[in-house]
Each structure stands twice: as structure tokens, then as C-alpha cells.
């Protein structure tokens, strides 16, 4: 293995890692806001990918143009899921953690079933999009264009998220609700509205990721499952409660995955990610940047 191929793999890993960070961002945001892990997160990604696919297939809208539309649609979807399901799960007086896990898990199964029902279990793919299958060469390293755009989008999304949380009224309301949901009611902030918007925003982020993923990955009803686990690990590695931990977590996961694929057979590449997660939390039980 030459130095060139190593650099090539690590560069691809970095791009993929930034995309993992974008997939995990919404999960981290929702968890940070209300301590809920959304077990249907992978299915949010799945419907974003289908939405992109159908916009392309029926209206010939390129995934890059579809991305904002898909994000907007997912925003509405996320808010609706909060209002119809999660809001009630939050009210559980007993076993709150299990109720949240299993109500969102049940939702995930329903969504997979609906996808099978309406879209059939067939594998679909977006062919002949603007950047699909194309690569760009920078200093002798070939980078796949879809992943490169995804990575740049991810960086942009995290920068926007930073300003959003720290500089806008809604961001401050989000932070305040997270700190003390009871107290914010006293100053006239509607907790449910903030949570619904938080779910919308989290879903919109995964919508962006889904639109990019649709360019270079097969689309099928179970596609979310494999990415959901990586997203959980990414968030936990970065530390629950820290949205930017997900950014760092994503980069680490991408690089570790690429490194593992160089050493072990490709089918074992996830083993490296999982092992690194275990190593990190055994040494540091709250993840890299998590608050306890």
C-alpha cells in the first residue's frame, strides 16, 4: 500500500465523515434539546432519499436543487412527528426512557412498512444527476463530487447552526428551553412550539443529508437502518448534549472507517467504528464533548 492510496482513502473517509456528521446533526440537536433519542432517525433519512428520488424521477429536479425542498418537507414532517407522537411520549409518568425508545422505534417500523407499501422493496437509484459518479482531482487525489458537495454542505450547515443557536431569538429560546423547560413558560415561551421547531430543524438537517445521499447510494425501505446506528455512535462519540460533538464525531467515524477498510476486509469496516466508540467511552464515559 503506497502513501498515495493511504492519503486517497483518508480523504474519502474525511468526506464521508463530514456527511455522517450532517446525518447525525439532527439527532444530536433533538437529543440536546430534550434528552430524546429518535429511534426513527434512519427512517427520516430514508424518506428524504425517496423524496429526492421522486422529485428527480417525476419532475427532473436535480438532487442538488431538490435539497432545499426536501429539507423544507422534512422540517414539516419532523414537527408533525413531534406533535403527533413524541409530545405524548414526553408526558409518560413512568418508564419515560423506554416509552421514548419504543414509540419512536414503532414509528420507524410503520415508516418502513409504508415505504414498502407505497414504493415497493425495490432498490432505486438516481441516475445521470449533475454530479453523480463524477470525480474531481485535487493535487493527484481523486475525490467523488457528490461526497465533496455533501462535505461542504455539512460544514456550511454546522456553521449556520452555530450562528442560529447563538445569535437568533429562536436559538436562544431553544437553549433556554433545554436548560429549564418549566422556567421558559414563565417568560411566555411555548415549550411545545420550541420542541416542535427543534424537531423540524433536526429533520430538515437529515433531509439535506438524504438529498445528497440519494445521489450516490441505493434507495430502499431499510436503507435507514445501517446509517442510523452510525449516527447514534457518531452522536455518542461526540458526546450527548453537544451538537458540535456530532461534527467531530462524524469526522472521527469517517476516518476510522476508512482506516479499518485498509486493514481489515471491507465487510468488517464498521468494526473499527464500534471499537473506537467503546474505547472512547471506556476512558471517557461522557463522550468527547458531552455534558454529564
Amino acid at each position: 500500500m503506497t502513501a498515495e492510496t493511504i492519503i486517497q482513502s483518508l480523504a474519502s473517509g474525511l468526506l464521508m465523515g463530514l456527511l455522517y456528521g450532517l446525518i447525525a446533526a439532527g439527532l444530536a440537536l433533538i437529543f440536546g434539546l430534550m434528552d430524546v433519542v429518535n429511534f426513527a432517525h434512519g427512517e427520516f433519512l430514508m424518506i428524504a432519499m425517496y423524496a429526492t428520488f421522486f422529485l428527480f424521477a417525476f419532475f427532473a429536479i436535480d438532487p442538488l436543487l431538490a435539497a432545499p425542498l426536501v429539507a423544507a418537507a422534512l422540517f414539516v414532517f419532523g414537527a408533525v412527528v413531534y406533535l403527533l407522537v413524541v409530545r405524548f411520549a414526553m408526558r409518560a409518568k413512568a418508564n419515560a426512557g423506554m416509552v421514548q425508545i419504543f414509540s419512536t422505534f414503532g414509528l420507524a417500523i410503520v415508516m418502513r412498512g409504508l415505504a414498502q407499501f407505497f414504493f415497493t422493496p425495490d432498490y432505486r437509484s438516481v441516475t445521470n444527476s449533475w454530479v453523480g459518479g463524477k470525480t474531481i482531482s485535487i493535487a493527484g487525489i481523486y475525490l467523488p463530487e457528490p461526497q465533496l458537495i455533501g462535505a461542504m454542505l455539512s460544514i456550511a450547515a454546522f456553521v449556520a447552526l452555530y450562528f442560529f443557536i447563538n445569535r437568533t431569538d429562536f436559538g436562544r429560546a431553544l437553549e433556554a428551553t433545554r436548560e429549564d423547560a418549566g422556567a421558559v413558560a414563565l417568560v411566555g415561551i411555548d415549550k411545545n412550539r420550541v420542541f416542535a421547531l427543534g424537531w423540524g430543524l433536526g429533520a430538515a438537517l437529515v433531509g439535506l443529508a438524504g438529498a445528497i445521499m440519494a445521489i450516490f447510494f441505493y434507495i430502499y425501505p431499510d436503507v435507514g437502518a445501517s446509517f442510523a446506528l452510525i449516527a447514534y455512535v457518531t452522536v455518542a462519540l461526540g458526546g450527548f448534549g453537544s451538537v458540535f460533538g456530532a461534527f467531530a464525531g462524524g469526522i472521527i467515524v469517517g476516518l476510522v472507517e476508512a482506516t479499518t477498510a485498509m486493514i481489515l476486509p471491507p465487510s468488517l469496516k464498521s468494526v473499527g467504528i464500534y471499537a473506537v466508540y467503546l474505547l472512547v467511552v471506556f476512558v471517557r464515559p461522557r463522550g468527547l464533548f458531552g455534558s454529564l
Binding site: G97, I101, I109, M111, G113, A115, F240, Y274, V281
Partner: protein
Amino acid sequence: MDTHFAQRRRRDLIVAACLAAVAALVPLFVKDVYVQNIMVLTLMYAALSQSWNILSGYCGQISLGHALYFGLGAYTTALLFTKFGVLPWFGMLAGGAISAVIAMALGYPCFRLRGHYFVIATIVIAEIALLLIQNWDWAGAALGIDIPVRGDSWLKFQFARSKLPYFYFALALACIAWLVTWWLEDSKWGYWWRAVKDNPDAAESLGVVVFYSKMGAAAVSAFLVAVGGSFYAQFVSYIDPESVMGFQFSLLMALPAVLGGIGTLWGPVLGAVILIPLTELTRSFVGGSGRGVDLIVYGALIVAISLALPKGLVSVFGMLSGRKEAAR
């Protein structure tokens, strides 16, 4: 209050004995193989969920990676039998013992983790084991193991002609898991576990050895689940990594306890008796289309029960409220 609790425990035991006796008679009247198959699965899930409940319900350490122990039991038995001709009965004990030891070895670093960090650790450990087995050629890799039929006897634990012996073994397993839970509930372990679940720091300060409590719960739980896995391997006579060790299976194992009533004696039984036949029936009535209607019904059911009855189905029967009162 103590006597009230003792009375309730005696009543539980009598009810369980009656239920077991009735269950044992059912196959004499129900000859349909399809229905018998559902009954075997129901009993198996009751046993598995009851065992999962010991660590996750009573001790509060939520594991979504118990498929690891189920798979270990299934694979140990199947490999010993197909490669070395070792009788499944020994395989079952070996699988249980290996699982218990591994559960403690994994618990050693993992039990320092809390909340979601612990849950995700259990998921990824099972996932690592799954990936390793999928790439282990000697153990059949992703294709799994076909267990050849070499007899029709209790000695070889293979029954080609009738499902009845499997039914009685599954019934025995469910009874054993229930009895172990019943017995532990009122032992010092049971009280330690509830203390660890409610408030580990307070428990530690009162002299409960939190770490060893968790280790004990993990070992018992893993042993019983592995025995279930051994049974499953013999019952279906074909195993593959994804179906016995996949993440989905970890969730399926937890579901009856969660929907029935987590951390309760009757929750897993009630959950399995309602959920498993319902799942199987939806699958055969509307699942045949391959269009996912069974998934929609099943998922909606999970959402509805977990939102409407956060304490589980047992709360409808008032079993839980009475027990909570008594246990305090």
C-alpha cells in the same frame, strides 16, 4: 406489609402453576401445527423477555444487545453438534456458561457507563459479534448453519415428527425463567437491583455493592437467554447470523417485557401472550402480499401501547399497582 407481600407472592406462584398446567394441556386439544408453532414461539419469547427483564427491568441496565447471548447460545450448540457431534444438551449448558462469562467480562468495562452511552455500547458490542460471525467461514459465515437431522429423540433433542416436545421444552423454559425471576424478586439480589435501578449513588452509600449487583443480573440474564438460543437452533434447525444476532432481534426480545410491563413479574408473560400471536397472525393474514402491511400494523401497535400504557399492559390488570405497593 410484609405479610401482604408474602401473600401476594404465594398467590403469584399458585396462579403461575395453574397457568402452566392449563398451557400443558392445550396441545392435547389443539392439533393444528401452525397454531402449535405460534405457541412455541410465544413461550420462547416469554422466556427470553423474562430473562432480558432481569437485567434491563429489575436492575435498570437497558440492554439492546441481548441478541448477542441468544446468538452465542444458538451458535455454540449448533457448532458443537455439527462439528464435533456433541449432544445439544451439553451445547445448551456450554452456551449458557460461555454467555454468562462473556456477559460479566463485557459488564466489567460497560457497567461504568450510564444512560444512552450504556445502551449504545450494548448495541455496538452485539453488532461487532454479528460482523465477526458473518465473516467467520468455519462457522458458516453469512449463510449460517444447517443443522442435520440425526435422530428423533430427547437424547439428541431433535424431533422430526411432532412439534410437541419442543412445546413442552419451551413451556419448561418459560416456567424456569419465571421461577428464577419470582425467586430473585424477594432475594437480597432483587432488593439490590431495585435500589441500583432507582438511584445507584444512594444504593452505593447504603452499602449495596452496585457493581456486583449488575454483574450478577447480567450473568443470570445472559445464561437464560443463551439457553433460549440453543433451543431455537434445535427448533428451527437452521440458523444464520442476522436472524439470531441482529439488532432487530435484540429489540424483538425486549418488546414483550416493555409492552407488557418492564421490571414486573407478569409483564413479559402478558406481553408475549398478546404480542407474539398477534404478530404471527398479522404476518400470515396481511404479510403475504410482501407489501409491508404487517409492519404497519405491528409498528402502530407498538406506538399505541407504549404511549397509552407507559407502565405496560399489566397496569390494565392492576397487577402492577398492587405489587408496587407491596414491594415498598
